[in-house]
Amino acid sequence: MNTALINMAMQTTLAAIEPRTIAQRAAESAHENLWITAGYFLAAIVGVALLLSFLGMALIYIERKVAAAFQCRIGPNRVGPWGLLQTVADTLKLVFKEDFVPQMADRTLHMIAPFLALLVPVVLLALIPYSPALQVADLNIGILFITAIGGFGVMGILIAGWSSNNKWSMIGAMRAGAQIISYELSATLALLVVVLFSGTMSLTGIVQSQEDGWWIWRGHAAGLCAFIIYLVASTAELNRTPFDIPEGESELTAGFHTEYSGLRFAFFFLAEFINMFTVSALTATLFLGGWMPFHIGDWTSFNSAMDAIPPSIWFLGKVTAIIFVIMWFRWTFPRLRVDQLMHLEWKVLLPIGFANLFIAAIIVLANAYPYPVAGQ
């Protein structure tokens, strides 16, 4: 069989580039030479830092260009070629601004809050499988870990709002807290559907389970439904329009970061965009097959053509597509009111999510996937 040959070839290539995470390599080298372990740690930290700054620059530029395109404008085009250096210029401006702390604010907490807000998405960056060989750590409780860490994003926002000692900050933070905690339920229910289907909680394991088809269509309607729920819920967790009531400019000036300026404001800004990337990357990993190429049943030549594209390009392409969709939301839907927001979560998404999980469990029990799972 030709497909079997291709599969074998793929497995050998995968084995050749040693699909081991950086954490595993570090742990292995710990027995021999501690300096190599330190080197791996340094590599991971530097890599994540570089990725962070690159993502910040790229996403803000893309957001501006996409927004401009939706509004029939040109967008940034003065600083550097095609306005590429606009974000750099803005960052420099923010760096040189005064780092202002209100007199009545809780000084320490006010200073810490932006770092807490940024910490969460950065930790999540370490878990995402970018390609078979590139991942910092692959935990066997990956999904649980993501939910656990993701829940802390709200702490940074709550602390920022409380410590500013400002009514607007406070109301914004309370709204953000209520919103994030509520929508986390739906997002977790959608994640559980994928865990049910793939039978593992490790992210690499989930990607590998999608070799015969991505969960978005292999799980019948349940996969698609979970995908939509997850996308909506995580857009709400990002506090982006149409769910941006925590920082609705027209009512709360800027919500929880009203009192922030300079570099600390930049941290909140960066955290929002990195969050957008991690959410998109997780969506791509869980529902769209991560770095798995697109395959159609027995179309061998088509499949091999798809295999020729490197996995990391696949991953980036999927993530970019989802980021574009999230940006698209912003210019399509009007902002929700607080009661509409709660109505959507508790009376629409949550019941559907529970029903969906139930149906997914039935599908798994009946073993009724359209494509047979490779290992079974």
Binding site: D106, L109, L139, N140, I141, L144, F145, T147, A148, I149, G151, F152, V154, M155, L158, I159, G161, W162, S163, M170, A173, M174, G177, A178, I181, M201
Partner: protein
Amino acid sequence: MNYVFYIAAAVAVFSTLMAITRANAVHALLYMITSLLSSSLIFFVLGAPYIAALQAIVYAGAIMVLFVFIIMMLNQGPASTEQERVWISGKTWVGPTMLCAVLLAELIWIVRGDPAWLPGKTIIHPKDVSKALYGPYILVIELASMLLTAGLVGAYHLGRREPERREGES
């Protein structure tokens, strides 16, 4: 990995002590979250990754955020912090500390000298826990769900704002 346990234990004890001695409610809560997170790390070291994640999700992520929410809703301001400072200063501590020290001494005397060592390299995976949970312990699930329903109904009933009473009624 032994060091991880002892460092996390030290952090847990220190932050718990700080949590019960702070006058500012939000500071106390943040110390408490630190304490819960370090005990989550301890669970991880002891080979219970599932519980470690649950601890972070439920305790630190949900219960503590609820606390923060309530504190922010009541938003008492600096006056209550001063009041708190008066309450917790001085002789209030003497009696309870002695009683707790006696209790602690007794408890430590009981647990002391167990020759057993926690076996290395046994991690109890989520799968094993789930198998036990949905096998012999199925009643626990039912119990937990009933408990949560009761909690939900109770919280809703108690938290509901009653319609304003008119003058004359009491």
